[in-house]
Every structure is written in C-alpha cells, then in structure tokens.
Amino acid sequence: MSAFVEIDGVSLTYRGATGDVPALAGTTLSVARGEFAAVVGPSGCGKSTLMKLVTGLVPPTLGRVALAGQAVDGPVKLAGMAFQNPSLLPWRNVRDNVLLPLEVVEPHRHRFRAERRQYKAQADELLATVGLAGFAERFPWELSGGMQQRVSLCRALIHQPALLMLDEPFAALDAFTREELWCVLRDVWHKIGFTVILVTHDLREATFLSDTVHVMSARPGRIVTSRLVDLPRPRDLAICYEPDFTAIVHELRSRIAEVRQA
C-alpha cells in the first residue's frame, strides 16, 4: 500500500539574520491513508516545521514531500489544521467560525450562498458530535478553553479534509479537559476516518490516540524511531493504566531521553 503522506529525505534551513538555522535534516516519514500518526520529540526539534512542510506552507530546502502521490509545491488546499491556540474569530458566533473554511475552500465557496442552510445543518451536526449541541449561536468569549478548542477542531473538520494536522492542540488545557478531548478526537476519527498527523509532547496522548508514534531527534530534527502502537481499538481511557500501555510510554520516554542527550 502506498503512503498517503510521504516525506522523503527532507531538510529545511531557515535563513536568519544571525546565520542559517537548520530545522530539519534528512527527515523521512510516511503515513498511510486513514492512519493516526503522532510525532513526539524534545521541544524545539522542528515538529511544527513538519506541519508547515506537509501542508505546503513552506517548501523544503532539500528532499521531497508528497501527498496522495502528488508532490507538494504550494499550499495543499485540502488540509484541516488546529493549533494550541484555538484562534477563533471573536466577531463570529460558534457556527460561523466553524463555517469559515467553507467560505474559502473549493468547491464549497461557490455554493456557499446557495446551500447555506445545508452547510449550517452540517456545522450543527459536527458541533453535536464534539458535545457542543446548542452552542452554535454563542460567541467564543462565552466558552471555556476546552470548548473553544472543540470549536477549533470542528473548524478543521467541516470541509471533510482528507488530512488533519494538529499542532499540540490540547497543550494549554487542564488534565481532565485534555483527556475528555482525547476521547472526542478518537470518536470523530473513528466515525469519519481521515488521516491525522498529531504533533505533541505528551507521550500518553500520542500513545492513546495513534497507530504509530514517530520520535524526532533534537534540532536539526529527523525521525529516529517509529513505534507501532498495537493496542486494540476502540481504546478506552482505562487503557492508560494497563501494563502494555505503560510499557510503550516508558519506551518512548527513554528514547527521547537518549535523543536529548545526544
């Protein structure tokens, strides 16, 4: 089976005022269609750069990035993204925030006016899936941080993207809300079945959610280990306290400790 996301020997160097900063050096990574992949690593290892490469927001200095068999040479136009900061638009209510991508992305932007009612229903349904039924008319400032992050997730998914890129989306939340949102993400993924690349520094999060965990080295980053998470699905939060799960987390942790030493 050919990979959906393919990063092949990619290096990226940022030109800075004080000299060139290598962010990635010879990174190779592939993610299958429908796979849930996580990328973990020490801070500043270029994880976020990886996101920008895959979505075509920055071109690689060396190497090749391909999405669904096509080389990426510009913004990819089909990825959903969510970040640590929900960055919702404060002048729009929750529903209109979720609908934003449909006003921009092809082919929806041309149908948007004509089929507004249908899109609205679609947004409300998606909001209900993440537990925000009845909040469509609220404004972002009326919601808690966890709820805002759910809205951000809906905004990333409304146009049914083939690829969802998540950059530490739950890092700013408290532990309980975070675990709640893990389950939300798990359920949406089971239901819709898109490809996910999740960048995180939370090893339990990575292990709980993903099929494969990729460990990156310190800057300049490259993938040093790809660990298959062969825990049975669907997974329940209780799995986090089972020996198999803990073993994987420990293994990843010691791998990262080695990488930081090096």
Binding site: K52, T55, G56, L57, P75, V76, K77, L78, A79, G80, M81, A82, F83, N85, S87, L89, P90, W91, L100, P101, E103, V104, V105, E106, F139, P140, W141, R155, A156, H159, M165
Partner: protein, 262 residues
C-alpha cells in the same frame, strides 16, 4: 448594603457633572475673591452672559467650524482607511511609506496653512485641508496595525485551505481592524477639530478661530472666552459621538480578550 451600593453608583454617574460644576465655581470664586480684571480672565458668569448676548454669531461660527471639521475628517477617514489597508497589505509598501508618513506627520500643520492659503485662498478650503492633514495619520497607523497583528496561525489555517491573500483580508484582516479603526476615529476627530480651528485663526473669514481672533483684537475678552467655551462643547460632543459609535460597532472587541487598546 444595597442602598449604599446604589448611592455610590449614582455618585459615579453624577461625578462628571459635579466636577465640571465645581471647576466653574472655583473659577468664579477666584475671579471674585482676587478681583481679577475681566480683561485678563473673565469670570464664568461673564462668559456665559457673553454667550447669551452674542449667541447668534457664536452659533453661526460654530456651525462653520463644525462643517469644515467634519468635511476634513470625512476625507481623512476615507483616505486613511484606503492607505492603511494598502500599507498593511504589503511589507514592501509599509517599509517604503512609513518614514515618509512619519516625516509628514512631524511637520507642524500650522506651518502648512500659509502654503494652503497661497494655493486655495482665504476661506474654508484651507481649514478643511488642515483638518484632513492633521487627522489622517492615526487612522492609517491603526488600520495598518490591525492588519499587521493578525495571528499567523489563523493565516496558516486559511492558507492550508487554499485561501488567496484577498480571502484572508476579507474574512479576517478587515473585520479585525474594526476596533482599531474606531479607536482611532475618537483621536482623529479631536485632531481634525484642532486643525480646522488653527487654520481659521490664521486665515479665514468665518469659524470660531476667526471669531476669537476678531474678538481678541477688539479687546472683547468675554467673547473670546465664549468662543473657547463653544470649542470645548463642540469637541466634547464630537468625541462622545465617536466613542458611542465605537462601542456600538465593535461590541465583540470589548467582550473578548482582543482589544485595540491592548
């Protein structure tokens, strides 16, 4: 408990009136106690008497000042928004124009009035142009700042959907400059007023500035002060109007964490 809370709230509402009245009383008292010559500083009672006596010319000249200010301000708003959007759109234009604008803004506008008089003759046109020249700068800067402070992550989200720069401007950039724009209007209207009056003082045959110069050269000090009073009233009224419009138009900015002041 409740009663005292009511009273303190009432006191807070009345305090602007109380302070204004107190200032006038103090002024009156000083004039009477020290027997200040009305030619140096007329007491408020004499000023108000002059306002009543000369209400016709004061009103007529106030009207002239009001419309020249508004005309100059209207041009400044239109020009300021367009230039602000252009400057905020492109870094190259921003870099190129900024020093020019700063230089332009630091020239005292009093010095420009004689030039305008040579070009357009004595009358309303130099007053309108001075009002425009003095007030467009804060509008440009605020609109450009509103665009420049857009969250880069939000831009990434939209670009990964294939959004063009124009989409990002229309959906995010322009709406988010609104609080910045309306905050600048409060400042700009006051400046436009100053510009109009300065120009009238130097070269005009109508307007409050002209009235006061005339009264001054006829040694009619109470009339000079009546003109000053009319200026203050007009200035407060215009500021209050735009503060109200600001609150009405950008309610979301006062509620959410993002605000033009911050």
């Amino acid at each position: 408990m409740n009663k005292s809370a009511d009273r303190s709230e009432m006191l807070e509402r009345l305090s602007p009136l109380l302070f204004t009245a107190g200032m006038f009383l103090l002024w009156e008292a000083v004039c009477r106690l020290f027997k200040v010559d009305p030619f140096i500083l007329p007491a408020p009672s004499e000023v108000f008497a002059a306002m009543v006596q000369y209400w016709r010319p004061v009103l007529r000249h106030s009207y002239v000042t009001l419309w020249t200010t508004m005309a100059g301000f209207a041009i400044a708003v239109a020009f300021g928004i367009v230039l602000g959007l252009i400057v905020g759109w492109s870094r190259v234009i921003y870099r190129g124009l900024y020093p020019v604008m700063v230089g332009f803004n630091s020239v005292p506008k009093v010095a420009v009035v004689p030039v305008l008089v040579i070009w357009f003759g004595i009358g309303e046109v130099p007053a309108i142009l001075t009002a425009f020249l003095i007030s467009f700068f804060p509008i440009v800067v605020n609109v450009a700042t509103g665009l420049a402070t857009m969250e880069p992550e939000l831009e990434d989200v939209l670009r990964a959907l294939g959004a063009r720069k124009m989409d990002i401007m229309l959906k995010v950039g322009i709406p988010r400059t609104q609080p910045y724009l309306f905050a600048s209007l409060k400042v700009a209207i006051t400046l436009a007023f100053v510009g109009a009056v300065v120009s009238e003082t130097i070269a005009a045959n109508a307007g409050l500035g002209f009235l006061m110069t005339q009264a001054g050269s006829n040694f009619q000090m109470p009339l000079v002060f009546a003109g000053l009073m009319a200026l203050a009233i007009e200035g407060i009224a215009m500021y209050a109007l735009f503060a109200l419009i600001e609150k009405r138009m950008t309610r979301w900015a006062f509620r959410s964490s993002m605000s033009a002041a911050g």
